[in-house]
């Protein structure tokens, strides 16, 4: 059955170049017989170098290279009808793992139309593909894990909020109930941040969305009549890192709770405004109400846990807090100025 070998002689240098190619390379005649195979090809695909020359591609090894699609493409390349550019095929061998290959084929143009030869370069991308699959899997796994953690956090916060609410319903003392409800508001404040973080994904929080959600949550549980009391948000486009956001959120929570509790007695109506503006690293947060204002001197209520929390957080944020009378009402302003800059920056005060 063996046909006589190809009668054309190839330049020894051409054969040497093919044989020594680092990339697995086959040098083929137009009827897909092997003129030369690189040592790297024989090594990579476990083919005896002595058995190669003169064989048809489909006869190599155990016939695993007899792939119809490759055959068609190579034939088309030989006639000039097609070019194989980075064509991906799977090499299936008995008792061995399938290899993912990328093949490139070129017709050798040397001006002799009767003497057509093909160069077939084969790159084994099995490991590369496996790595990228693994990477995709890891990325997907990480997203699932993160989601799972967020679920758990949300559920845990729900459990804490539920327990506090159940306790608040049971206690007799109005004062204790108030404290328990405040504790629940603080939990909900952190939960609102958690929600923002889980949607933003970058570890920073869009402050306007966060404060809006925070105040919706506070309003939902503390404002019985939205016609009478409302909370307005006026926040610039700041995106703030999570740890700073949580402090800002807790400050807003305390001050809004405080205003809702004390600024509007006797069914007095009014509004609370939350304003946050930043410029570079400087920022100003203010909570304004148009309620009855702070009672002066000795009539002032003694500082509670809320005040302690606000003062500690403001200090943590390296801010300064000031309290002014708005007539009617109260403005609490917290300013943060970067001290590292040259001198004191003057910014647009409220």
């Amino acid at each position: 059955m063996q046909q006589p070998p190809v009668v054309h002689f190839e330049a020894a240098s051409t054969l040497a170049v093919v044989m020594s190619s680092h990339e697995p390379l086959l040098f083929l005649s137009d009827d897909l017989r092997i003129i030369a195979a690189s040592a790297s090809f024989c090594r990579a695909f476990e083919i005896d170098p002595a058995s190669v020359t003169g064989k048809r591609l489909g006869e190599l090894g155990s016939g695993e290279w007899a792939m119809p699609s490759l055959n068609v493409l190579l034939t088309a390349t030989a006639t000039g009808a097609a070019r194989i550019d980075a064509y991906e095929i799977d090499l299936k061998r008995p008792l061995k793992n399938t290899r993912n290959l990328v093949v490139n084929a070129r017709k050798l143009e040397d001006g002799d139309p009767d003497h057509i030869r093909l160069l077939l370069a084969i790159t084994d991308v099995t490991e590369m593909r496996a790595e990228s699959r693994l990477k995709d899997d890891l990325v997907r796994e990480k997203a699932i894990l993160l989601q799972e953690v967020q679920h758990r956090v949300a559920n845990s916060l729900q459990i804490i909020a539920s327990v506090l609410m159940q306790s608040a319903r049971r206690v007799q003392s109005e004062e204790v109930r108030g404290h328990l409800q405040d504790a629940r508001h603080r939990i909900m404040s952190i939960a609102a941040l958690q929600k923002q973080l889980s949607t933003s994904g970058g570890g920073s929080v869009e402050l306007r969305a966060y404060f809006t959600q925070l105040c919706q949550s506070l309003g939902a549980s503390m404002i019985a009549d939205p016609e009478r009391l409302s909370i307005q948000i006026n926040v610039d486009d700041s995106n703030v890192p999570a740890d700073i956001s949580v402090s800002l959120g807790l400050i807003v929570t305390e001050l809004v709770i405080n205003a809702l509790k004390h600024a509007f007695p006797d069914e007095r109506s009014g509004k609370i405004a939350i304003d946050y503006q930043s410029s570079g690293k400087d920022w100003t947060l203010s909570i304004t109400d148009n309620g009855i204002g702070m009672p002066p001197g000795d009539d002032a209520p003694k500082a509670g846990l809320g005040t302690g929390i606000v003062e500690a957080l403001v200090k943590n944020l390296q801010g300064e807090i000031s309290l002014t009378t708005a007539d009617p009402g109260t403005i609490v302003t917290i300013r943060h100025r970067e001290t590292s800059g040259s001198g004191t920056k003057v910014s647009s005060a409220m």
Partner: protein, 130 residues
């Protein structure tokens, strides 16, 4: 309705959250039933024909999660109102039966009772089944 009181079925696998939800429903003046997973919820729905609203968690052990349960209920007991709560913040509304309400956890009690009141009030008009 049972003796003029709307009946709410709570489906939640976490016991503490479930107790909280029951109290929330009772405080709103409704009758509360509880199930710890979808299968138990379906058994209760099959036994009673007076359930007006199901308030369900999403992530639960068992054959169905809260989303599948809500679709099952909408198909089999179309008049029953649905409120779904989940720790997942992003939940596409399109995944839920039409007319149902979604809230992310932790939810605020008042928000849930307001939603319940609104859904139960819409029952009177008899036009909610889409």
């Amino acid at each position: 309705m049972n003796n003029g009181k709307p009946v709410v079925l709570i489906v939640e696998d976490s016991a503490i959250i479930r107790i909280g939800a029951v109290e929330l429903v009772l405080a709103a003046g409704y009758e509360a039933l509880e199930a710890s997973d979808a299968d138990e919820a379906i058994r209760i729905l099959e036994m009673r024909n007076d359930i007006d609203l199901v308030f369900t968690d999403v992530q639960m052990p068992g054959t169905m999660d809260g989303i599948k349960l809500s679709h099952y209920i909408r198909d089999r007991w179309p008049p029953v109102k649905l409120i779904i709560a989940s720790g997942a913040t992003i939940l596409e509304e399109s995944m839920l039966p039409s007319g149902s309400r979604f809230f992310s956890k932790p939810y605020d009690d008042r928000t849930i009772t307001d939603a319940m009141a609104r859904l139960l009030a819409s029952d009177d008009t008899q036009t909610t089944v889409v």
